[in-house]
Amino acid sequence: MDAATLVIWLMALVVGAIAYFRPGRLHVQGLKIGWELLLTMSPRVAMAIFIAGFFSELIPTDLVASWFGRESGVRGILLASLVGGFTPGGPHICFPIAIILFKSGAAVPPLVAYLTAWSLFAFHRIITWEIPLMGYRFMILRIVSSLALPPLAGILTAAVQTNVWTGM
C-alpha cells in the first residue's frame, strides 16, 4: 500500500470516528452521502480513466515534453494556465488529464499552473453555479482579480522546487 492510499484511508477512518462519537448518528448520514457519491461518480471516473489511457497513446509525448517539460520555463507555465482555463468538465476529467501530462513528461510547475487555472476558471461551474447565484458582475470581478494566480502558482512552485524542495 502506498502513501497516498494510506493517507486517504486514515483520514476517512478518523473523520468517520469523529462522526460516530458525535451525537445525532452523523456517521450514518456521512456513510449515506459517501455511498451516493460512490454510485454517481465511480462510473464517470472509470470512463474518464479510460479516456486518459487512450489519449496517453494519442498525445505526442515529445510535444508535451517540449511544451510543458523542465526546460519550458515561464512559457510552459503560461501555456499551461491558458489550457487549464479552457479545460471543460469536473475534477474527474481534469485530474486524469493531469496524470497523463505528468507521465508524458510535463514538469511540476506547469502542472500546478494547469490545475490552478482549471480550479479557478472551470466554465461549467461558472455557468451552472456562479452566474445563476451570483450574477455577471461578481463573476467578472472575481475572474479579473484571479487572472494572475495560475502563473503565480506555477512560478512559486518552480522557485520552491529549485530552492527548497529538490525531491521532485
Binding site: H27, G34, L38, M47, I51, G53, V112, L115, W129, F138
Partner: protein
C-alpha cells in the same frame, strides 16, 4: 460611493433569490432545493449525461487507438486498467471521507465567520473558511450566495471563492492526493496558500476603483 456600489452590485443581489423565504431556506439548510430531485435518479446510468458523454469520448478515442494498431490499443487499455486499479482503493475511501466531512462541518458557522468580519481580517478568515468548506459546488455556492446576501465584503467573498476552489479540502483529499500523490498535493497546497489573499486584495482595489469612477460619472 454607495450608489455606485448599488449600480454595480445591487442588481446582482436581486437576481440571487426570488423571494426572502427562499433565501431563508437556503440560508438555514445551506442547500438549494434541487438536490432532492437529482438524488432520485442517482443510479440510472443511462440518464447520466456526464457518463454518456465520457463513454462516447472513450469509445471514439478507443476506436482511433485501435485504428493505429492492435498493440497500441492493448497498451492503452493496459495503462487504463493499471491506473484504475491504482486509483480505485483511494477513490472509494475518498468518497466516504467526503461524506463524513460534509456532515461534520456546520455550514452556519462558516456563514457567521465571514459575514461578521471585513478588511484584512475578513480576507484571512475567508481563506481559512474556504479551505474548510467541504463538498462540491452544490454545497459551496449556495453558501457564497448567502454570504453575499448578508453583505459580506467583496474582497473576503472573492478570497473565499478562490480559496475554496484552489485549496478546498474536498478537492485536495478526494481528487488531488489520490490522483497526483501526497508530495505533489502538499507542494501545490503550500505554494497556493497566499494566493487567495492576493485575489481578495485585488478585488478590494478593483471594487473601490469601479465605485469611484462610476461615482464621478454620476456627478457630471
Amino acid at each position: 460611493m454607495l450608489r455606485a456600489y448599488n449600480f454595480w452590485f445591487g442588481s446582482v443581489q436581486n437576481t440571487l433569490f426570488s423571494s426572502e423565504a427562499q433565501f431563508l431556506s437556503v440560508f438555514i439548510s445551506g442547500n438549494v432545493a434541487m438536490p432532492e430531485t437529482t438524488r432520485k435518479k442517482k443510479i440510472a446510468l443511462l440518464t447520466d449525461k456526464s457518463f454518456l458523454l465520457f463513454s462516447a469520448i472513450a469509445l471514439i478515442a478507443g476506436v482511433i487507438c485501435y485504428a493505429r494498431g492492435k498493440a497500441v490499443f492493448l497498451r492503452s487499455v493496459d495503462t487504463s486498467l493499471s491506473m484504475l486499479l491504482e486509483l480505485a482503493p483511494r477513490v472509494v475511501a475518498a468518497f466516504f471521507m467526503a461524506g463524513f466531512v460534509q456532515v461534520l462541518v456546520p455550514k452556519n458557522l462558516i456563514t457567521k465567520w465571514i459575514g461578521a468580519k471585513s478588511g484584512f481580517k475578513g480576507i484571512t478568515i475567508a481563506t481559512l473558511a474556504g479551505i474548510c468548506t467541504p463538498g462540491g459546488p452544490m454545497i459551496a455556492f449556495p453558501l457564497i450566495a448567502a454570504l453575499y446576501k448578508l453583505g459580506a465584503d467583496y474582497g473576503a467573498l472573492v478570497a473565499y471563492v478562490a480559496s475554496w476552489e484552489m485549496l478546498g479540502i474536498t478537492r485536495l483529499l478526494v481528487w488531488e492526493i489520490p490522483f497526483m500523490g501526497v508530495k505533489f498535493a502538499l507542494l501545490r497546497f503550500t505554494v497556493s496558500l497566499i494566493l487567495p489573499f492576493l485575489a481578495g486584495m485585488c478585488t478590494r482595489k478593483l471594487a473601490s476603483l469601479f465605485a469611484s469612477s462610476l461615482y464621478s460619472k454620476d456627478q457630471t
